[in-house]
């Protein structure tokens, strides 16, 4: 039984526990950005790769992506306005044209007003999300860990090492 649970335990441990407030905040910030951008294009895929390559906390990032993706549909009109403005700006026309003629660029869907708008808004929100969420993660991570430790399932899945680590962090 322990043999079966060990890989799951190690995975969850890697995903959740080994994180600093900075990594958690970074995960949150990436989650906001990726969550805003429509999926199914190369931009979203690239952002995912960057997220995976970074030291950001993936669990927080994944959760944030899910929540923001759900909410971003309500912001489409704003993204459309921003994207439309940027894409149709005469000064940027040549830039976009050059970019559009690059290999793989059409797969990014950057010429779509919502994709471009959400990307810009997401990038604008990236740093504020990081800065604002970092103190919050610093303040509430320990409390959340203590709360999670009470659950039998958490203890079983994450193992006592997690509990010990959480205890040490206290």
């Amino acid at each position: 039984m322990l043999f079966l649970l060990r890989p799951i335990r190690l995975t969850l441990k890697a995903l959740i526990t080994q994180a600093t407030p900075g990594q958690l905040a970074l995960g949150f910030a990436f989650g906001v950005l990726i969550g805003m951008v429509p999926k199914g294009n190369l931009i979203a895929l690239t952002l995912g790769i960057i997220l995976a390559a970074s030291r950001a906390n993936l669990a927080v990032a994944t959760g944030t992506i899910l929540v923001v993706s759900f909410l971003s549909g309500y912001l489409d009109s704003a993204f459309d306005y921003v994207g439309g403005y940027v894409l149709s700006h005469p000064a940027l026309f040549e830039t976009w044209t050059n970019l559009y003629n690059r290999p793989l660029a059409p797969w990014t869907d950057f010429n779509n007003t919502i994709v471009m708008g959400s990307l810009l808004v997401g990038m604008v929100c990236l740093y504020p999300s990081y800065r604002l969420s970092k103190p919050l993660f610093a303040a509430y991570t320990e409390k959340a860990a203590r709360y999670a430790k009470r659950f039998w399932l958490t203890r079983v899945l994450l193992g006592m090492e997690v509990a010990d680590r959480l205890s040490l962090s206290e």
Partner: protein, 635 residues
């Protein structure tokens, strides 16, 4: 710390790899199935989809597209399809298939299930969709020409169409009416004569004075009636024979006309070659035309589907198209090779096809799409469809060359009446059709060997004709037919011409020519006999009735003569005048003066009359007055 970083990334990589290794192809398969089902409206089975990225390629195995119109069968199925995509255009999100191969293509194969997405109980198994205009064409193919033709032959011997018969009938009707009128006139005169006889009888029993009045009146009426009757009989005896002679002249003229008409009609008798062509080979030709047009529909339909825009991921938003330096169509199949079997008639026939330059943007591509199909076997077909949408007006050219060596039996007419059957072998079809914006213009040509012609008839009068016609039809060895198409592609004006019709018509005419002397002789003899019979019948009928009329009239004259004799007797005085005067005087009908005069004269007359009876006494009675008169004279 290092493992804490690596493990999640490795897991993500593993997931991505697993997705592409195990999830991507099934996802593509599912997407393709769903897309194809939405296009065909029936089940689509795809056994396996394999993708490769370096170089980009897609392989599809065991694909079956169910038929929505024929439950339980596949529209098409193929064993493998392999698409090699060009890498560079793919980087720019353009799907350019450099070469595709589809093998083991088969049409109309059976399935284990009904293949329907939703069971529709109302759906019925049906054959290929035949457009309404073509259904009308096939429906109107006239077999009746054959029946009409033999009927024409029969009509030559039909007395109803002879002028002699018609004139004879008219004369019958006319003289019937005339005799009825004469009968009515005689009957009226008879009645008048009878009334006079009754008046005579009544007058005999009347008072003498009244008798005078009656007899005078009767005598006057009898004279008038006699004059009328004499005038009538004079007219009858003078006019009727003359008019009958005129009518017989008319009958002779009608007979002459009939003789001429019979000779010329039989000589000109020839069936309609157009109708013969349509009834014999029309269906075959029109169905081949429909097959050709269905190919055009297919290629045009694919073109429209390629142009259909993809569904956007999220509603809203606009994709701004920036200029492309080296533009390429979004979808382009440079070359698609196909092989398999298709059904030609009821025979599975191996085929090879090449489809080139099918694209979503023909103007950009600048080349027309071309489909070339080549079949093997006993029915080799070479079909080329060229769809050129490179300009604003799309032009579709269809060219087909089709050889069918199997024997086709064609028939016109009905087995229980007249039927002409023949066989067509080595059919060689050639078609050239152009479609421009819903307008069609083209020609389908057919050349074939013609043989085994048989003409059967159940009508005795046409048996000898059928025999001769069959002999002449056996001289026809080849058939050429052409269908010309023009107008709207939905309902084109179709005209079919063929030398078959004229050849068959000539055959029938020759048969008639061969039969002509006998038929002519028969018809002319019939006309002569008929005319003689008409005249004889008319003479008998008229003569009999005429004699009866004269007899009737004689009887009338006799009765009138009796009346007349009575009146004559009266004039001769063979009645008692004394009684007559007395009766008149006593009747009180005379005026006072007249009465006095009458009394006076009656008295004198009585005296005279008495003197005749007893002269001595009368003399004695008259003496005083005579003496006075003498004395007066002496003085």
């Amino acid at each position: 710390m290092r493992w804490g970083y690596l493990i999640p990334r490795i897991i993500i990589l593993a997931i991505v790899w697993a997705f592409f290794a195990f999830g991507f192809d099934p996802l593509i398969r599912r997407g393709a199935t769903s897309s194809l089902q939405s296009i065909t409206g029936a089940k689509v089975d795809i056994a396996d989809v394999t993708t490769g990225f370096f170089p980009p390629r897609v392989n599809v195995d065991q694909v079956a597209l169910a038929s929505v119109s024929k439950p339980g069968s596949n529209l098409v199925e193929f064993q493998t399809a392999s698409f090699h995509l060009a890498g560079q255009p793919l980087m720019h999100r353009n799907y350019v298939v450099d070469e595709a191969t589809i093998t083991g293509v088969r049409f109309q194969t059976s399935r284990n299930d009904n293949g329907q997405l939703e069971i529709d109980e109302d759906s019925e198994s049906s054959g290929p969709v035949v457009p309404e205009w073509l259904q009308d064409k096939v429906k109107n193919l006239g077999d009746e020409w054959l029946e009409q033709f033999t009927d024409q032959a029969k009509s030559q011997l039909d007395p109803n169409r002879l002028e002699t018969y018609q004139v004879g009938n008219q004369l019958y009707v006319k003289w019937d009416r005339r005799f009825e009128e004469v009968n009515l006139a005689i009957s009226t005169t008879k009645q008048r004569a009878e009334r006079l006889q009754q008046q005579i009888k009544a007058a005999k029993q009347a008072e003498p004075v009244q008798q005078i009045q009656l007899y005078l009146q009767i005598a006057q009426d009898a004279d008038i009636l006699l004059k009328d009757s004499q005038a009538f009989v004079t007219t009858l005896k003078t006019n009727v024979p003359a008019e009958v002679r005129q009518d017989f002249v008319k009958l002779d003229q009608a007979q002459q006309n009939d003789r001429q008409m019979v000779a010329s009609t039989i000589q000109n008798l020839k069936p309609d070659s157009g109708r013969i062509t349509e009834s014999l080979i029309g269906e075959e030709m029109y169905l081949q035309l429909q097959h050709l047009l269905s190919w055009v529909d297919t290629i045009q339909g694919y073109q429209e589907q390629l142009k259909a825009p993809a569904e956007p991921e999220r509603s809203g938003g606009r994709s701004i198209e920036f200029p492309i330096l080296n533009p390429t169509p979004k979808v382009l199949c440079r070359k698609l090779l196909m092989d398999g079997e298709l059904m030609l008639g009821d025979f599975p026939t191996p085929f090879r096809a090449v489809l080139t330059d099918v694209t979503s943007d023909p103007k950009l591509h600048g080349k027309p799409a071309i489909l070339q199909v080549q079949t093997a076997g006993v029915r080799p077909v070479h079909l080329v469809i060229r769809h050129d949408a490179t300009s604003d007006i799309a032009v579709t050219d269809l060219s087909a060359d089709f050889v069918d060596e199997t024997e086709h039996v064609v028939a016109a007419g009905k087995p229980d009446a007249e039927q002409l059957t023949a066989s067509l072998t080595n059919l060689h079809w050639k078609a050239n059709v152009t479609l421009i914006e819903g307008q069609i213009d083209g020609r389908v040509e057919m050349r074939s060997d013609f043989g085994k012609s048989q003409f059967q008839t159940a009508r005795p009068y046409a048996v000898s004709l059928a025999s001769v016609a069959e002999q002449t039809l056996q001289s026809i060895h080849t058939v050429n037919a052409v269908i010309d198409l023009k107008g709207s592609a939905l309902k084109p004006d179709v005209s079919m011409t063929s030398d078959l019709g004229s050849q068959v018509a000539n055959g029938f005419q020759t048969a008639f020519q061969a039969q002509l002397p006998a038929m002519k002789q028969q018809a002319l003899a019939m006309v002569t006999d008929y005319a003689v019979e008409q005249k004889k019948e008319l003479s008998t009928k008229l003569g009999g009735r005429y004699s009866a009329l004269i007899a009737d009239h004689q009887q009338l004259m006799d009765s009138l003569n009796s009346v007349r004799s009575i009146a004559a007797n009266f004039r001769k005085g063979q009645v008692d005048p004394n009684a007559v005067f007395r009766t008149v005087s006593d009747s009180g009908l005379l005026k006072q003066n007249d009465q006095k005069k009458a009394d006076k004269y009656f008295g004198e007359a009585s005296k005279v009359m008495d003197g005749f009876k007893n002269p001595n006494q009368a003399f004695e009675n008259a003496l005083p007055s005579l003496r006075n008169r003498l004395l007066d004279k002496l003085k």
